[in-house]
């Protein structure tokens, strides 16, 4: 099968809160934008039944409902959606390639918003019972199928306890395996108090799963290992929910993008990765707090940064480096008087060398992107460019005579 090629300004990998927000910003900036999502648009937020802390929704919202609104807004601004997974990327150079099994998407900017996926326990028998065979990661999805049954929850963080309490509305009994000592849980105090008081919830302290057991078809028990004594106990359950954190979806970026040891991508505050034109936002980044609210902030920055990057690329390639004539670039900052007073000097120079030297003015007040590309850290500065190469740089005292000397 021959692969198709499609061209976009921006390709966003991942359709969670961060990717959708980046899409809204790119779409609104009239960039030709494609968002690729491998399963349900909305990402991890759709696994949460109630989102109570996202501002603007005083009565709360379901994760799915909130993400549907995000998607609707992105669609309104012309973002296109593709439901498939990304198999590989080529990110170096001006044209980046995002590969799926049928199509290669070429883009000037790639925004990585691939988020995380649930972490597995690594216990024996786990792979055999994933998804519909008894081990689940989504209480919202699978709660109804557990009406009247006994289920186990692994973990004691916010997700584990809150989803565990949600499961008690359906299941007869929810057994929680906690690795800590009795009474110690990773979740917030309110959830902890409610969970301990919930008559349908039972806690087995100091334990971790050692093995998942059952028939060929379905899980019917979990063997827990006591972390202190090493003793094993088999607990019969109908299904088991894992809430032991997440691992980032960054396998395809290994050895391409900078990441920390667990695999979270490293960015600066502009969401830039180590490769120009590649941004990362949301849970896939190394950061302090992973919430819908912070993902939205990340996505907005990435979308805005993408737009700036594209605009600057155009100026840099067409006006600054693409000119047949030799040129000077005057880099200044509109809020600095010492820069502003040089404008008449630059104008006089432009007039004197009309038709011989092309003059470009770059105000760095809003973005230092072009200054970075020209390797300029201080303004005012003048850069002389000839034959598409930087020939000379002038900083400090700038006068008409000095600019003339620069181009000689």
């Amino acid at each position: 099968m021959e692969k198709k090629t499609e061209k976009y300004d921006v390709v966003i990998i991942g359709g969670g809160a961060a990717g959708l927000t980046a899409g809204i910003y790119c779409g609104r900036a009239r960039l030709n934008t494609l968002l690729i999502e491998k399963s349900l648009v909305g990402g991890l937020a759709t696994y949460t039944n109630e989102i109570e802390n996202y501002p603007g929704f005083p009565d709360g919202s379901t994760g799915l409902g909130l993400m549907e609104l995000f998607q609707k807004q992105a669609k309104k601004f012309g973002v296109k959606f593709k439901g498939t997974d990304v198999q590989g990327v080529k990110l170096e150079g001006d044209v980046k390639v995002v590969e799926t099994f049928r199509t290669n998407y070429e883009a000037k900017v790639v925004i990585v918003a691939s988020g995380g996926k649930p972490r597995l326990t690594g216990a024996k028998g786990e792979a055999q019972y994933l998804y519909d065979k008894g081990i689940s990661f989504c209480a919202t999805c699978d709660a109804a199928a557990n009406s009247g049954k006994t289920v186990m929850v692994i973990g004691s963080g916010d997700a584990a306890i809150e989803e565990g309490m949600f499961l008690t509305k359906f299941a007869d009994k929810v057994i929680v395996s906690v690795m800590h000592d009795e009474g110690i849980m990773d979740c917030n105090e309110i959830a902890k108090g409610q969970a301990l008081a919930n008559p349908k919830m039972e806690f087995i302290w100091n334990t971790m799963p050692d093995e998942f057991v059952g028939t060929e078809e379905h899980l019917n028990g979990v063997v827990l290992k006591n972390t202190r004594t090493g003793a094993l106990q088999t607990v019969p359950v109908d299904s088991c929910f894992l809430f032991i954190g997440y691992v980032p979806n960054t396998e395809i970026f290994r050895d391409i993008l900078d990441m920390n040891r667990p695999g979270y991508l490293l960015t600066n505050e502009k969401m830039e990765t180590n490769i120009p034109g590649v941004f990362a936002c949301g849970d896939v980044r190394e950061k302090f707090l992973k919430q819908v609210a912070t993902a939205v902030g990340d996505g907005a920055i990435a979308g805005y940064a993408a737009e700036k990057y594209l605009a600057e690329s155009e100026i840099f390639e067409d006006q600054i480096m693409g000119s047949e004539l030799p040129g000077i670039v005057f880099l200044w900052n509109a809020v600095m008087p010492e820069c502003r007073c040089l404008l008449p000097v630059v104008e006089a120079f432009e007039e004197k060398y009309k038709g011989q030297i092309k003059v470009t003015r770059v105000d760095i007040y809003k973005s230092k992107g072009l200054a970075d590309r020209l390797n300029i850290s201080e303004v005012p500065a003048v850069v002389f460019i000839k034959d598409k190469c930087i020939q000379n740089v002038l900083t400090g005292e700038i006068s008409l005579e000095k600019i003339e000397a620069l181009i000689k």
Partner: protein
Amino acid sequence: MKEFTLDCMGEACPLPLMKTEKQMEKMEVGDVVIVQIDHSCAMKNVPEWARNQGYNVEIDEVDDGEWEVIIEKTK
């Protein structure tokens, strides 16, 4: 290369996944099944499961809240 359609409209988890698994067993390499889904929960486990099996998966949103998951049996 045959193409099959699996109507899972109105069905909640884990039914669509169970039906998809049964259907895949019957198919030969190169065959394609189009699973029609309107429960968002199945949009999580059906594509995920199929990819874990190593099959090619693509999703089309045919309408608001209605999807077709296209799975190609590759081995």
